[in-house]
Symmetry: C2
Subunit: 246 residues, 2 copies
Amino acid sequence: MSWRKDEQRRAERGYHHGNLKEALLQAALGLIAEKGAAGFTFADAARMAGVSPAAPYRHFRDRDELLSSIAQRGFEQFEARLTAAWDDGRPDTVTAFERVGKAYLAFAREEPAFYSAMFESGLPVDANPALMAAGERAFGVIRAAAERLAALTPPGTPRPPAMMMALHIWSMSHGVASLFSRGDAARRKLPMTPDELLEAEVLIYLRGLGFPIDRRTAKGAEPPPVPPEASSGSATSPGGPWGKLK
Amino acid sequence: MSWRKDEQRRAERGYHHGNLKEALLQAALGLIAEKGAAGFTFADAARMAGVSPAAPYRHFRDRDELLSSIAQRGFEQFEARLTAAWDDGRPDTVTAFERVGKAYLAFAREEPAFYSAMFESGLPVDANPALMAAGERAFGVIRAAAERLAALTPPGTPRPPAMMMALHIWSMSHGVASLFSRGDAARRKLPMTPDELLEAEVLIYLRGLGFPIDRRTAKGAEPPPVPPEASSGSATSPGGPWGKLK
DNA sequence: TGTACATCAGTGAACGCGCGTTCACTGATGTAC
DNA sequence: TGTACATCAGTGAACGCGCGTTCACTGATGTAC
């Protein structure tokens, strides 16, 4: 009996919740994951947090403010995950770059609620400075990685603008994520994993910029590859950029 | 006074509307464009069509069926526009291919309501066979174009799988469209036009596949270029893939 | 050409529901002295 | 250490609203004869 559990929790916590703001954010996350950013209501969040429908107004002006908070927190976690994936370019820049792309997809897949609040809730990004700043910090990770990669262009090839590279990588990742790596029912079927699709896409793109990516192993030469064994391992699927595709 | 106009229209049309199904679809499109796929209601659509709230039930089982109809019609129009842009590969394959990408962006920008119903309404695509088929026909245009392009790989370069190319192009276009070429308030700012961004992205990608795309003019050699002057014109911005980026 | 009748497409009133929001309130907590 | 008091965080009842949906109905249209 669900109400019994609610009663019990209520008895335990007493009159004050103690951490209602956080509880509301969590509740909203769950609801968004379940029914989409559209189908979540303020009242529902209160109910899930085991609190009267008037209580949320102590912490959020309205539904939109709660939604923005979630989007902002989403961008922060997104940034953290991209930063961790980038790992300052270790063990080598191309491998780390690939890992960032995969982290993008993983985030979309594992955090559909955040992803939906960040990119599909219809929130006017530029009307909310804090939100926009958080979004730009996340993009900054991709941008910094692109910067490092651009600096590696082989001698003789023109150096591509890092900003352009970053925007290209962002749009590739976002496209694959939105179409094929969603966490909800709108995900489209694919004859391979989204990770493989994106990896091949990025590698072909990098080769187009002049990076010496081998067509078979999909690895570029880069001094110094430290440690040597790490750069021939998990980042690439066997068969190179389209090994799995036939 | 709006009610006066309604009264008048009502008087004109008489008891029967005559084309209510169509009118409801149009009304819903307007509402979705205005408030997003989430914020459109069955009752509102009826009101906009100047009809009682019970009338729509003669034509649609429920709100979801109306939404699916819109998504399906959207895919059909999308397919038509992509087909027109492709123009069977005239005047040359690369130029026509670029045009398809631009048509993708233009559709997202000019038909935000369709775009949102098709890609962001949360409709479970694979639960609706007709809808899925319409979506696949649209993708088929990109796929056919990729097929033609793949057949053009220069001798000596391995031929890429057309399916993979098509999925890559789709995700690039979709990423740029969703982030930067939306028709609503969630559109992100960009230091160039979305068209330019996507064009550069696709050209670099094609070069990565071995197509002889010149870095400056961004044109590939292709026999036979008919008519010759058409292949050096509008498809490419001056300065090549990243001429505008510096 | 006219008439009877079936079918179709819309009406309008009603319903139950859940939402957002407000209000005066009250129990719990923190702090000044 | 105890007490008085201010502030804070949640209550619960109430409201108006618009939505989705149903129902018996009725005006318009099409068709058989």
